[in-house]
Symmetry: D3
Subunit: 276 residues, 6 copies
């Protein structure tokens, strides 16, 4: 039921679940092989553990080795992953392991560029729920490998009251009270607001985190000033490498940025396999 | 066991499998809602069916509607998807449906730019197996929506003899013979080659498709000339918008291009939900 | 993947997954039946939705009806649930539905006696993780039906730093810092302490919730006084109907009580089925 | 598909399936730990194998040890279970293992008190199907650990003709004939009866086991006398520690008692974990 | 978890789980179709319900119809099954439905020839556990459609003490006692014996069913005479159309025959599909 | 998700998924055992790997051994499989392993008789999709063990245009074009035809394989002559030991024969188990 195991299973199944017909036609006996994965450009690494799991999943006897960890900087030409084992297993795992690594490292690399850009060390940069279906927890790990933080993982592990909730509850106050009464005493209550008036209502209703959604810099500055430490302030919407520091300058505590996951491109890596 | 249903299940599970705690705290009764998805930039659509399945999966009584099909051009500002149903279901499906649509449409859009660029109508442009883990068949649909063709879906539904197979078999001839004897009479045999000498061996051994891997334009031209219609010729490696027509000009029949899937970025779309 | 559906499936499977041999030997044609569930003692109801799901799971065409909701007081002799449908389905669902209802209502009933006993309306009474394996979320619903609140559902949706964490981290301060850095900004950090000295460390490290574990009344009073509103205070350990108000009198905000779930006995109910 | 493995999986999933966030924030490296489970009151043990399986399920390398077996008497203060392994695994398994042990030992303990009370060694005391959903086979093992016997496990492995079956079949004779014709020659046929007249019909139709449902002592005595060894006689309904010997005195062969499982309370045990 | 659903799922998956590529290439819109299944030889029908389930499983909106039931005699040329629905669904279900029907009807037809041959109406002819993996319950239904009875379905729903059990237990008496003490009071105890001496031990130990394994006619006659109604007598081994009545003539009660399932050949049927 | 593992699981589940009640009543401690499987008639072996997997699946510590491989000729009386391990595991695996071996070897044996009969070494004899539900890939392996070839495994890995496809597409030409445009460049296109006129249309539309369905010898000879090497020619329908060489004599390249799988009978084998 673990989601990482599930996505590995699914990825292996879609690639070779019914067999690798070419290899099966040719390999009448068992061969040993060695594989190495090489960086064809420079990037920040993420996915090293899932790559190991891919090969282990196919054949428990595979030996995987890497002297790098997620978050490390990999240079062009560097061999950053080795695997030794049954040739059939290496050929089955090759494409799937690469597909995970290239996407996750792409996210870590893009995230690192945001983190490096940010000049305000006390501001927390987070991801969003705009992740590839099925890869949520892996992509959130990639964001941490890149040096940023995570926002909630799902609709289950964090409270965020949005416009529809407010409409249904009748008011921000009603919504916050309903949530506080029904949830555990271990959850903070966040409210999404779009106007300064809503900020005031949220503070009055004792919201613990306030998300300023798509506000301009001036509005954000005003909101931060009004809140004055009574709640954690999060900025959301239109966050880019260009706008990042301007948003941070408004005094918000948290900036959440969907681009970290949905604007990332795969890094260029390849695998070479040899029989031994 | 269907992979599309599996990835939808996984995506919904990781987002709200254990519940949507905010909404559950607030909604004590059932509400009806309407949702619309809007394009915030111009793009080629893909994923319309999977978006419908997401909402149907949560609640069979949702009504989904779109006047567009995969492959259609969507303009900025266009409302291209509507859904009506239980508010709780809409809130649960929102992020997952958007995450599918933004990624798949991103692939269709990038693919369309390649297709439009290609000036040789008889050359078949295909994808590769460099797809996001778990989304293989959806991303291959997105490639078709973009106007290109598919290469094999997996290691199971197409034969491709690579260097390791040749090493194990002893020669290209041995490898092709082994495969022809063991597979069905409905499969064509493709061999990946890197030199003109290997091209000759492949032709001699009656390969039905020959993949020229990372050859330069001159080599490709020579190979095509030598093969002279005796096998389908596929070019692979370093295919970009820039190199595309130059490769096509060498006379190859098929160009396979990993960038279609792994260099795509998500398109910008959003959903608005209202109670009714 | 939903846990409630899983426990229903498991319960049905263990009871009739391979068939109901007696009924199958006798019923050569299809019969309609009506069933009613009767209270043979007075109790607080919980499980009405899961009972409906049991019958619906066996046969979508069953019609279930109840004029009562979870949390309602049911009197001895009252018919509180009716189901109409295929006789075979009723016979299969009977025992499983009763087994859920009798246990969950037992918990709601015991919880209500605690809630009625508690004389401090501002003190929040919660359950613990001492629940029957597989029935966690249902038993937590039963606690709410009884009028109390829930503590965290699992190790995933709430942070609680215990002695082992403190040992590994080196100090309470280290543990709290590590957690605050790594978790989202939506989670409160709770620390379990056993001495007044630990209370001081927790406050210094800005713990947001402090659990006083197995302290006596005097210690609890001192802790509450020291904390003085700087953190939510939870009392835990040896909570019984006798000790409840004495603990509340110390000024704590929350009392967590394992007995609500693990000392409950099933209530006495039975089902009568007739062919129609 | 094994039900015990399924309930362990479900129990672990609901407790830590998505992770143990506190521990994961703090443990950056791997630690070894030792755990002991201590009895905080005296009881009859059941669940020792399932507790081992819980830890083994999380981590195959855990070492579990107990010098006790199910059915043993555990004294207050006794350490009856030890486990050594990865600290993360111990913290994940702790609550789940305890939750199984406390409930199953509760059933074994209550059952033992019934067995000790029963003064008729030839009378077989059995459980019923009134068990906790999902824990049927474990709770039936606990009943055997307590010294009693099992009635059928499910609707599949034993035949019991009840009032509805008789109504549908037209008569006791018809029902018994239908069953005997359709089932294998390895199953005995039991019929539930409420009157002496039905006893006579059951004997005439060659029932092999007759259940006297909710009869008073006088009726049971008459029934036993009439049956006179021609069928096994089972008494059912309102069996308590008080009524047990009175029922046995009527001469019945079997007494089935739902209270063994549904009136049991958890025993008091706790686990202490140390890093090593 | 139901085994019939599982084998249908598996059969559909192996035939078209990843799609029907030919049809998907051609059908760009939805078509309606009608299919009929025709007998190309005369046989006894079995599998009509599973055939319906196959089509329903693919598409809930299919309409299946048959005026025949399992056990009916189908004449050559007869149309015994009709289905109407989406053409894609008909093409997917066709081969799977036929594969079930041809095998199950083959078993029913062979069984009927044994049943017709048997001249002793009081002797019960049963199958064994020698069935096709995964089709156990369907093949046992086919045996009943043919007019014979079932032996136990699995190792779980009937007791049969074999030579290994006797060796381990020390003696037939020990084995029977161990079983009677541990199993429920609803199971009969069967013992497999090969000599007259073992028959005597079994009777002494109060075996309820005795299986004479591979005895010759004379031994069987002696055994039946000795047992003299004190246990049900079953003959097993080398049962054929030729030996059937000779075995029955020895006076045994039950004859179990593996050939019913493992010597059956598929009947000849075919499906015609038309668009409408 | 692997289909072979699934059918093994299903077969084990249906036979002993809920336990082996006889053995569990008797074995209070663990015993070691040895088992041998003996041929009671002469046959061609298939299923040796699946038999090993059955025992390994129950108990990873079982040791299986065979000096024979699939395709070998086994003589009456030969011991061709040995297994050593826990007695409980041997007793659970016995019937399931035998049921696989007896059926698969039956298919290999029948196939071998066809292969031996065929006097035209260049003609490829293949199976069809008329296999036992759930055993497709195993039965296709058995066909190869017998010396014949496989036709497509499923509707997914080979293209075959049938009458319904032609009707829907409008013509053979339309159907072939649609398929060629939509499928990958690695698949050959096969068309099923029943008349010489259709053969001509198929050749004109550049079909790569043509199936002559139920044609008589004269028609087949004419078709082969007309096609004259422009496509692979397959004969289908009414293939038997008698007709085999007459069909081959017409000059076709491939003969597909359903009888290989659906007319096979189980071979006679048995297992002896001893405690050690």
């Amino acid at each position: 039921m673990n989601t990482i195991e599930n996505i590995i299973k699914l990825a292996l199944f879609e690639d070779s679940g019914l067999g690798d017909i070419t290899t099966e036609c040719i390999l009448s006996e068992s061969f040993s092989g060695k594989g190495i994965i090489v960086a064809k450009e420079s990037f920040i690494l993420s996915g090293i553990e899932v790559a190991k799991k891919v090969f282990k999943f196919i054949d428990l006897n595979c030996e995987c080795f890497s002297s790098f960890s997620d978050g490390d900087h990999i240079k062009e030409g560097e061999i950053f992953f080795k695997v030794q084992g049954d040739l059939l297993a290496l050929l089955k795992g090759e494409r799937v392991a690469l597909n995970f690594l290239q996407r996750l490292s792409g996210i870590a690399t893009l995230t690192r560029s945001y983190v490096n850009e940010l000049e305000y060390p006390d501001v927390r940069l987070t991801d969003t729920r705009k992740t590839t279906p099925g890869l949520r927890s892996l992509e959130k790990e990639a964001v941490r490998a890149g040096g940023a933080h995570n926002h909630r993982m799902s609709l289950y592990d964090g409270i965020l009251i949005k416009d529809n909730h407010i409409v249904v509850a009748g008011s921000i106050k009603n919504a916050i009270n309903a949530v506080k009464n029904r949830t555990t005493h271990l959850m903070k209550v966040e409210v999404e607001v779009t106007t300064l008036d809503q900020v005031k209502q949220a503070i009055e209703a004792e919201a613990e985190v306030i998300m300023l959604d798509n506000m301009n810099y001036k509005q954000m500055t005003q909101a931060v000033k009004y809140i004055n430490g009574r709640a954690v302030v999060e900025a959301s919407g239109n966050v880019s490498l260009t706008s990042l520091n301007k948003i941070a300058a408004t005094g918000v505590d948290v900036i959440s940025c969907g681009a970290l996951t949905h604007q990332a491109r795969s890094v260029d890596i390849s695998m070479r396999i040899n029989t031994v």
